[in-house]
């Protein structure tokens, strides 16, 4: 029983982190409809950026994080401006965006592997300690992951109450109608890239705190968060976050009835079945912005 409860809490905390990744990806995907795999490159880059500033150069933690946020946002915006926008102007097919995106992620993964080596780099400035709650023990990183919901709540408030947030929702729903009411599509896309990319900083901090940085961190997080966004459906941010939470729990609890190593098979079988059987996501339009 304790084991199951521990796994459940583990799943809920890790799932919360996935939810933040999913929201950062969903902000971009739902608005621009680009399957922005290169988001994984931004995620890894943000992590290594903080590692270099804080661990290698010895700068204060707050400064490293404060600089990482504009860095990540600029990186996401650069990908939009230099790669996606020219493709959009050319009227390139979906697959061109996807291939570009995957290519960028591949190059980034290769670069980080060459520069930082293939091994795991722990962020030593974030102490990973056990925390005991009765019989159950978690880590400090797990507790930190719960703060994901603070960021997600901020995003929801932003989307509902600010002008540019409402623009993003309008563009996500029906780009043509939004454009006809005078919303600048390209500008809205850019805002979604800036915001979504900036959100990778708290998410990758939680991730690296928990399991350290590897060149493949971006790939593994983008896979799970994009899966969650697709499973949740294209109509909102929260649906993806809830799907991410569910995937986190599923992954953690799956260890009880399947040998470890099979978790990916479960997550991505679920993704495949949802796409094939419910292409509009499990929530349909029930859970909107």
């Amino acid at each position: 029983m304790t084991v199951l409860l521990t796994l459940l809490l583990l799943g809920l905390t890790v799932g919360s982190m996935y939810a933040l990744f999913a929201v950062s990806f969903g902000l971009i995907y739902n608005v621009t409809h680009i399957f922005h795999f290169a988001h994984g490159a931004v995620i890894s880059a943000a992590g290594y950026f903080i590692y270099v500033l804080v661990s290698l150069l010895g700068w204060p933690i707050w400064l490293g994080i404060a600089l990482a946020i504009p860095f990540a946002a600029a990186l996401g915006a650069a990908i939009e401006l230099w790669f996606y926008r020219p493709l959009r102007r050319r009227g390139a097919p979906h697959v061109a965006f996807f291939l570009t995106s995957v290519g960028i992620l591949t190059v980034a993964e290769g670069l980080f592997g060459v520069i930082f080596g293939p091994g795991v780099i722990p962020l030593k400035f974030l102490p990973l300690r056990a925390i005991h709650l009765g019989d159950i023990s978690l880590t400090t990183a797990n507790i930190a992951m719960l703060f994901a919901w603070v960021f997600i709540a901020l995003v929801v408030v932003y989307l509902r109450s600010t002008r540019s947030g409402r623009f993003m929702r309008a563009v996500a729903d029906t780009p043509a109608v939004a454009a006809s009411t005078g919303i600048d599509l390209e500008r809205t896309y850019l805002v979604s890239f800036l915001l979504g990319s900036a959100l990778t900083v708290p998410a990758i901090l939680m991730y690296a705190w928990y399991q350290g940085l590897t060149p493949a961190a971006g790939l593994s997080t983008i896979l799970i968060s994009s899966a969650a966004v697709i499973i949740g459906g294209p109509t909102g941010i929260l649906s993806g976050a809830i799907a991410a939470l569910a995937l986190g729990v599923l992954q953690a609890v799956a260890i009880v009835f399947l040998p470890s190593g099979w978790q990916d098979a479960i997550v991505f079988s679920v993704l495949f079945l949802v796409i094939v059987l419910r292409p509009k996501g499990v929530f349909g339009i029930a859970l909107r912005w």
């Binding site: 979906h94 896979l223 990916d264 098979a265 495949f272």
Partner: protein, 570 residues
């Protein structure tokens, strides 16, 4: 040295097979699959198990691998063909990740992360292919044969059909093609070719482990296809050679092997991004599978270009009114209804479309005319009521099944296959009538001459002007000699003379014994051509009869023009 060359040749052969398989699926079929490494892996493991456990001799080992890959391909296709577009990318990526996990963990079949060892090279006609050069020779022959077969498929009518459904699946269906089946077949062929590559790989290396069949491998295969050019197999051949040699050059650099692998990944990613951005057509762009053989010099020079669309309509009439083999059936609707959400788009409609007559459907916007069309043609399934073609009930038929009964329809907008040439467009439209390609090309050429587009025969239809595309659409749809013809707002946007000529065309089509049904907003056109008029309003037939009766019907006048003599009445 000879061993080194042989080794690279084997890899070229393997990557040629893989990239060819994906180009058929992605470039020709338009199915954005990024799980080609799965079929590669399944073929490799199947061959490994067959050789190590069952001691299968050549060519059963290769054949078994191909069959296993194709069976898996068929299973995946069954589910995958339900969805389209970008979701296919994500669905196949998901399957790639699922199978990567299976390869790593299903120890009984794959040996887990250690893989399967001791795969011996085959004995072919008594010759042991243990040395590298002999094996390379066999691999090259197998790859060449498969490549030739792929070229043949690409140029066959089936290849043309696969490309056409990629361009516009609805139009291809309306022309009588089962596009889901065609897409599934090309997917399964691709799976088989990749499985063959996997079997060669297993025999060549002597062991298989999961690292060769992961997402990165799928991406490498995509890179080769994109660099070579989507839809061009010769480009794939060139790219397979270049991209297999390029990493070899890197390995010659002083670097550890894991660093070399990282570099290769980096290089492929970089190439992919740059090619998509700056060189989207790749080495060789797609080529048409059929060309108009211009025997007697350049025929275009002597032909007068019809200046006015009215003339063109006359010319289209010539090709259409020609031979009709089967007698037209009566199309009968019996209490057909269809709702979209709360809106009753079509409400208990019954009528008949008779051969030798022009039946017109008129009514204000949103009256349900086009929905009714789509119900008859199978694009929309009715909630209630039945549709008959002659004695046959077709209520639940799919669009291609109805098209095969001898039904031609036009669409409101211009619909053609933009990345097929004008000639290929017509050949494809005619292809149900003959399987002999040469006679098809001759007939399609004649159609193009008739519509005045013969000098554009080998140009991509998408590069034609709007007017030319519209003419091409009329030509390709009406050259099919089908006994039942549905025309959806064909008079829209035409000048007066053309509308008049078009009316003549429609009358002549009906006079040849066909059943013609038109949906039209242009009422003077309707009064010109129609034998029977049905007036729809809010999904119901509110009046029917000969044009003179309808014109005199105050009800109809009211719907179109508001209550006459009472302006301001809401």
């Amino acid at each position: 040295m000879i061993n080194y060359i042989a080794q690279i040749s084997v890899f070229v052969a393997i990557f040629l097979l893989l990239a060819t398989s994906l180009n058929l699926v992605l470039g020709f079929g338009g199915v954005f699959s990024i799980m080609q490494a799965v079929f590669y892996g399944v073929g490799a493991y199947a061959a490994a198990d067959l050789i190590v456990s069952a001691h299968a001799p050549f060519p059963l080992d290769l054949l078994g691998a191909v069959i296993v890959a194709m069976v898996l391909g068929a299973l995946v296709a069954g589910l995958l063909m339900r969805i389209q577009g970008e979701l296919v990318i994500i669905a196949t990526l998901a399957l790639q990740l699922v199978f990567s996990t299976i390869f790593r963990n299903w120890t009984a079949a794959t040996g887990g992360s250690y893989g399967i060892f001791g795969i011996s090279r085959p004995t072919v006609f008594g010759a042991h292919l243990t040395t590298l050069p002999t094996f390379a020779f066999m691999a090259a022959l197998v790859a060449a044969a498969a490549f030739a077969a792929s070229l043949f498929i690409a140029r066959s009518p089936f290849g043309l059909a696969v490309r056409a459904q990629r361009e516009d699946a609805v139009l291809a269906g309306a022309l009588g093609h089962d596009v889901v089946r065609e897409r599934a077949i090309v997917f399964v062929i691709g799976a088989g070719l990749a499985g063959l590559a996997g079997a060669l790989y297993a025999q060549f290396v002597g062991y298989v482990d999961p690292s060769g069949f992961d997402v990165n491998q799928s991406l490498s295969i995509i890179t080769i296809v994109v660099v070579g050019g989507l839809g061009n197999l010769w480009g794939t051949l060139g790219a397979a050679i270049i991209l297999t040699f390029l990493p070899q050059l890197l390995i010659l650099l002083p670097a550890t092997s894991s660093a070399a692998a990282q570099f290769q990944l980096l290089l492929y990613g970089l190439i992919l991004v740059l090619v998509v951005r700056f060189w989207p057509s790749g080495i060789l762009p797609e080529r048409p599978s059929v060309r108009l053989v211009q025997r007697r010099g350049r025929r275009s020079a002597g032909v007068v270009q019809p200046e006015r669309s009215a003339e063109l309509v006359e010319r289209i009439a010539e090709i259409t009114v020609a031979g009709m083999q089967t007698a037209a059936p009566v199309v009968r609707l019996d209490g057909v209804s269809k709702s979209f959400g709360g809106l009753r788009a079509v409400d208990d409609v019954s009528f008949e479309i008779e051969p030798g007559r022009v039946t017109a459907l008129i009514g204000p916007n949103g009256a349900g005319k086009t929905t009714l069309f789509n119900l008859i043609c199978g694009l929309v399934r009715p909630d209630g009521g039945r549709v008959f073609f002659g004695p046959q009930e077709t209520t639940r038929y799919k669009p291609f099944e109805i098209a095969r009964l001898g039904v031609t329809r036009t669409f409101q907008d211009v619909r053609i296959f933009p990345r097929l040439t004008a000639l290929e467009n017509v050949v494809f439209a005619l292809s149900k009538t003959a399987s002999d390609v040469t006679s098809l090309i001759d007939r399609a050429g004649a159609v193009l001459v008739n519509v005045g587009l013969q000098s554009h025969a080998d140009r991509l239809a998408g590069s034609l002007s709007y007017a030319e595309q519209k003419i091409l659409m009329m030509g390709l749809v009406l050259s099919r000699e089908d006994p039942v013809v549905f025309l959806d707002e064909i008079a829209a946007g035409l000048d007066h003379a053309s509308v008049h000529a078009l009316a003549g065309l429609v009358r002549r089509i009906a006079a040849s014994g066909r059943a013609v049904c038109v949906v039209e907003h242009n009422l003077s056109f309707v009064w010109d051509v129609a034998d029977v008029v049905y007036v729809l309003d809010a999904g119901r037939v509110i009046a029917s009869g000969v044009p003179a009766d309808i014109q005199a019907n105050t009800n109809v006048v009211e719907i179109y023009f508001g209550q006459s003599g009472a302006p301001g009445h809401a």
